[in-house]
């Protein structure tokens, strides 16, 4: 996803319309990043909104427009970590956790193409998605951040390093161990090439 440099310049100059447009462009990405991080719709919405509020407040201080993407993910990661700290201290249970996918605003009904597909195939895909989410949740926070940013958000290792404020080698190392851990988790959950071939 590419953002318009002009849009970014206007947003930095305080143009609220441009900032709103920027949010529309990036909302899905930040939401999905947060959703995969927490596997919780409400938390993902909360983190996404806070990320864009932070973006609005601080975008004037962004020096290098080319680093907008990593900068935005830095805010998102910080919001996720903050939310994680809150959850650890509060030990609250989201209602979405108790009955995921059936909330009014779960958007599962909006998976437009899937509605017309084979029900068994849909069921298996949902089951696989749930298993993969569980695997991601079992990674350490550091590994999960890197894996999601690389695998789903398509950031370069350099961009992830900038976003997390660590070295590129550290990012690669976390990715390596994250993949190793995922490999073991998939084996434990019996997700094989055969079962996956059926889904593809």
């Amino acid at each position: 996803m590419m953002h318009s440099d002009v849009l970014l310049l206007q947003a930095r100059d305080g143009d609220r319309h441009a900032q709103g447009k920027l949010m529309q462009v990036w909302y899905k990405r930040i939401y999905n990043f947060s959703y995969k991080f927490f596997y919780d719709h409400d938390l993902a919405m909360e983190v996404s909104q806070r990320t864009f509020i932070q973006m609005h407040r601080n975008i004037a201080f962004l020096q290098d427009g080319a680093r907008f993407r990593s900068w935005l993910y830095t805010i998102a990661v910080n919001c996720c970590r903050e939310e994680l700290r809150k959850r650890k201290s509060a030990r609250a249970v989201s209602l979405h956790d108790l009955n995921p996918g059936e909330a009014e605003d779960s958007y599962s009904w909006e998976s437009s193409a899937a509605r017309h597909e084979n029900p068994e195939r849909m069921y298996r895909q949902n089951e696989l998605a749930e298993l993969l989410h569980e695997c991601l949740l079992q990674l350490s926070v550091e590994q999960r951040e890197v894996v999601i940013m690389k695998e789903y958000e398509g950031l370069k290792f350099r961009e992830i390093a900038e976003a997390l404020n660590v070295s590129e080698n550290t990012v690669k190392s976390r990715m390596y161990y994250g993949l190793e851990a995922l490999k073991r988790l998939l084996e434990r959950k019996k997700i094989t090439k055969e079962s996956l071939g059926y889904e593809l």
């Binding site: 609220r16 900032q19 998976s111 895909q125 894996v147 993949l179 995922l182």
Partner: protein, 269 residues
Amino acid sequence: MNYKPDEATWTAYLYGELADAERRQVEKYLQQHPEEQKRVDEWSFTRSALGTLTDKEVIAPSIVLGETPAISWWKERYVRMSLGIAASVVMVLIAARLLGLSVTATDGELRIAFGNTKPTPALTRDEVRDMINGNNQVLQASWSEERQAVEASLQENLRKNSGKLDNLMKTASLANQDQVKLFVSQMQESNLKLMKDYLRLSSAGQKEYVETLLVDFSKYLQEQRRQDIQMIQARVNQVEQHTDKFKLETEEILTSLISNNNPNGAKHN
């Protein structure tokens, strides 16, 4: 070739973020090490499994964004810090004014005072020395008196304690003499009794032992005698047998001689 890709290299290779030269090096390494190719395949499978997880569709909610806060010059960090320092200085000055703070430094002397103060006349060196000497004399006298009192008290206490100690020692020694005598006499009696018992038991034992010894010796002698008699008897029997045998042989010889020396005996008869 000792080349072996590290974790970072593997990851970069897997995501196609290696430079050409390094990528070729890794590919060559994989050709030489087929078992590593298996690991790469496993990672690729893990990635393809992760790839099945698709994005969720979401509609961005309308977030009311306020005006971009314009940063005023007085909100700049350094301005706020300077203003803070200035305000602190002013507060200190006002407080000093209200409390009548007076700070003076004369002839190496720093004087901090609050309110109206009257300068105290300074003492001369002789006056200070006299004051110190007077104070020392008073202290010396007081110390001497206290020392004498303490010494007297110590002497008195020592005298009393030594008297008590002597009495206690005498009492203890008297008691000890009686106890020792009693103990020695009891010990003598018990020793005597012990010796008597010992001797009595010892003599009886010796007597019994000697008797047993004599009986045993007598039995030994009798046995020895019996064996000697048997042996003599056997010898005598042997001699008798020899004698009989000799006698018989002698008779046979004589008979034979007689038969040989008288061949006409039959003719004569």
